[in-house]
């Protein structure tokens, strides 16, 4: 009996393997047949980080009502923007067409554009439309002479202060530090300020704010211009702020800072506008005791320069429904769409006229006061190699903040790294 059954067994196992292999390879073709007949509704996929507000839901409902032939499927990604970045990198570098519209952090647009993952939108997001938008966010979606995305909402660093302790907010960093020293202990406070001091992207925002507000600059065109006394002096402010902050500020991200501030332990907080509704929430111990002000300036600077944050909508280059995808992008970033985002999500519009809109201001009264500060917000360097630059800044700013190196050394290290990165860009 031996040999025949042996042969049979081996043949069967070989067949099984072949079936497995064949099964794997044929998978790709079956989904390709996709009829786009005009009458049938088209479904597009909108991918974005998890939205804890009802804004996304409301936007999709309003859009589907307006365009009954287009259905929008929302694909939720994790909250952390690093995780979102990585899932886009995995999907888009493989030419995945399952995402049509993607929400991008302001700093990714040049990177994704250079990697050839986005549809250029020059003729869709026209000059006429762009003129209605704030200039900072438009600058951030422009790379290599083309438009790659449409700004959906913007963000800019602001200074929160306890108005029950401080009557007028500080205009300069020196004033802030003095006020903190004079008043700490009042109203149950233990610390002067909280900010984002962890080694991550948020630290770059905070550090570039103090550097910019002292007249420093990172890049001018392709030239690295960070090594100036103004930049070193600016970074020194961050170290001075750390001295009046909790010891663990070197581990804080936005929410850690907000928690300490909301518990009433700090007089000042540098954060983004999202925190406003939370620190004034019904369960907040400091409800109605909080004021909001522009970022102060340094002694060598002209004005406080808040870091520009925000999110853009782009279209996947491999999308099978680019026209429908554009309709969605156009709607979400239109005045109508941005008003929904502002009212339901509390996000700052990128269209200038909405800062005079009655409904929007009724819900967010402080926006009109901060408008002047917002329009001066500076984008971080607009380059596809921003992640590398950010990496160097995160490490060196954090080393300075934890006392391992001096601000002067940190600035010199960053200058060297940035020059290397720019030099390698052109390497053939």
């Amino acid at each position: 009996m031996g040999k025949k059954s042996k042969i049979m067994t081996s043949l069967v196992s070989l067949m099984l393997v072949l079936v497995l292999i064949a099964g794997c390879s044929s998978k790709g073709n079956s989904t390709a047949t996709n009829s786009t007949s005009k009458n049938e509704p088209v479904t597009i996929t909108y991918s974005a980080g998890k939205d804890s507000t009802p804004a996304t839901q409301k936007l999709v409902e309003a859009f589907e009502q307006k365009y009954p032939n287009i259905k929008v499927k929302v694909q939720e990604l994790p909250n952390s923007s690093d995780d979102q970045h990585n899932s886009y990198v995995t999907a888009l570098s493989a030419g995945d067409s399952s995402i049509d519209v993607l929400a991008m952090d302001i700093i990714w647009t040049p990177e994704f554009a250079a990697a050839n993952w986005l549809l250029p939108l020059d003729d869709k997001f026209t000059q006429e439309m762009r003129d209605k938008f704030l200039s900072g966010p438009v600058e951030a979606v422009t790379y290599d002479g083309h438009i790659w995305a449409v700004p959906r909402f913007t963000d800019a660093g602001v200074l929160y202060y306890r108005k029950d302790i401080i009557s007028t907010p500080p205009k300069t960093w020196e004033e802030l530090i003095q006020m903190a020293k004079d008043n700490v202990g009042k109203g149950g406070t233990k610390y002067g300020i909280v900010f984002q001091g962890n080694q991550y992207e948020g630290l770059v925002c905070d550090a570039l704010e103090v550097i910019g507000s002292n007249g420093g600059n990172v890049l001018e065109g392709d030239k690295v211009t960070i090594n100036t006394p103004q930049a070193v002096g600016g970074l020194q402010y961050l170290l001075d702020l750390a001295k009046i902050a909790p010891p663990g500020v070197t581990t804080y991200q936005e929410e850690d800072a907000r928690n300490v501030f909301q518990q009433g332990e700090a007089i000042f907080m540098r954060n983004w506008p999202y925190a406003w509704s939370l620190v004034n929430g019904d369960d907040s111990p400091i409800k109605d005791k909080v004021g909001i002000a522009p970022i102060p300036k340094g002694k060598d600077g002209q004005a406080g320069t808040p870091a520009l944050g925000g999110w853009n909508l782009g279209i996947n280059k491999y999308s099978k429904h680019p026209e429908e995808a554009w309709k969605f992008v156009e709607f979400v970033t239109s005045e109508e769409g941005q008003k929904i985002t502002a009212l339901e999500g509390g996000n700052l519009p990128t269209i200038k006229s909405l800062y005079q809109d009655k409904d929007v201001l009724a819900k967010n009264p402080y926006w009109s006061d901060l408008y002047d500060a917002f329009i001066t917000a500076k984008p971080r360097p607009v380059t596809p190699f921003y992640p590398q630059m950010s990496d160097s800044m995160q490490i060196n700013f954090h080393k300075a903040l934890t006392g391992e190196i001096t601000p002067q050394q940190a600035i010199q290290n960053i200058e060297k790294d940035l020059n290397d990165i720019i030099k390698n860009e052109g390497k053939k």
Partner: protein
């Protein structure tokens, strides 16, 4: 006798399949799977490590030989990541071995409530790393962290410390969290080995008048050597590739003082989209791990032969 044996042997036919070929055919499915999911990625990573390849400049991708490796060896960040990885591996694995051994000896004792003690010791190992990393992050918190509270109450420190926020404390804190989680794993493996040691050795030693310390060093330790080596292989390779724990607790900070090779590889690949250099780092990790494995397996062979 000899003639009789040859009669039993099957006759040659064209369908004859000898055992070796059959063996290969039977392992073929498994082998194909391994090639597809293990060997191919390794080889492809090695190939990528010889290219200049940045996704932002995908058009400029070209072969550059060992250039990526040369720039790595001149890169101070790579050097400090390697040193951090080695420190993390050596310190955490040695502590785990010592603590795991103590736990094993405890678990091996027969007393009331042995089951309870064993379960309690094993709990940290049952918690997923991501969860225990987050848990330790809270324990180390500078405002409401448990560790600060306990140490201040005991009078060990005067004021709350930022355990993960200062370069001098962060690595130690991460190692402590790792030891807490994986010492039980070491203990399970050692326990299995310990229970294989015949009780007669101990009785004979007792009769000869050997004390408990002497019994541990002359019987337990030598007979446990193969098990210890297996446990060390597992833990060294794991510790060398540590990622999730550090990623969650510090992300490589403060001031990059806890950045390990895997974190550096991850940032280079997925954040900077530099697939050439990133792959080169991954290959270096692979080579290191491979060398460790070979050394351990050699030692293991020797100790079994003894």
């Amino acid at each position: 006798m000899i003639e009789k044996k040859s009669v039993v042997q099957p006759k040659q036919s064209k369908f004859y399949l000898n055992d070796a070929i059959l063996g290969y055919l039977l392992v073929a499915p498994a082998l194909l799977c391994i090639i597809a999911i293990a060997l191919y990625p390794v080889l492809n990573t090695f190939k990528l490590s010889l290219y200049y390849m940045k996704l932002q400049l995908i058009g400029l991708t070209h072969f550059i030989g060992f250039q990526n490796y040369i720039s790595l060896f001149n890169d101070p960040r790579f050097r400090s990541a390697s040193i951090n990885t080695v420190i993390f591996t050596i310190v955490s694995v040695s502590l785990e071995l010592v603590i795991g051994m103590i736990m094993t000896l405890l678990m091996n004792k027969k007393f009331k409530g042995t089951g309870l003690v064993r379960a309690a010791i094993l709990i940290p190992w049952a918690i997923p790393t991501i969860v225990s990393a987050l848990m330790w992050k809270f324990i180390y918190n500078d405002q409401f962290g448990l560790l600060n509270d306990i140490l201040v109450r005991m009078g060990v420190i005067n004021s709350y410390k930022a355990w993960l926020g200062s370069p001098s404390l962060a690595m130690g804190s991460a190692i402590f969290a790792d030891v807490w989680k994986t010492a039980p794993f070491m203990a399970i493996l050692l326990l299995a080995g310990l229970q294989n040691i015949s009780y007669e050795f101990y009785e004979a030693a007792k009769v000869d008048g050997a004390g408990s310390i002497r019994r541990f060093f002359s019987i337990t330790l030598p007979l446990l050597k193969p098990t210890i080596l297996v446990a060390l292989i597992f833990r060294t390779l794991d510790a060398f590739r540590v990622f999730d724990l550090i990623f969650v607790m510090t992300g490589g900070g403060p001031g990059n003082s806890t950045e390990t090779l895997t974190i550096y590889a991850y940032k280079t690949l997925f954040r900077n989209l530099d697939f050439g250099i990133g792959s080169a780092i991954a290959v270096v990790i692979f080579i290191f791990v491979f060398i460790f494995a070979v050394i351990y397996i050699r030692l293991l062979d020797k100790s079994i032969l003894e």
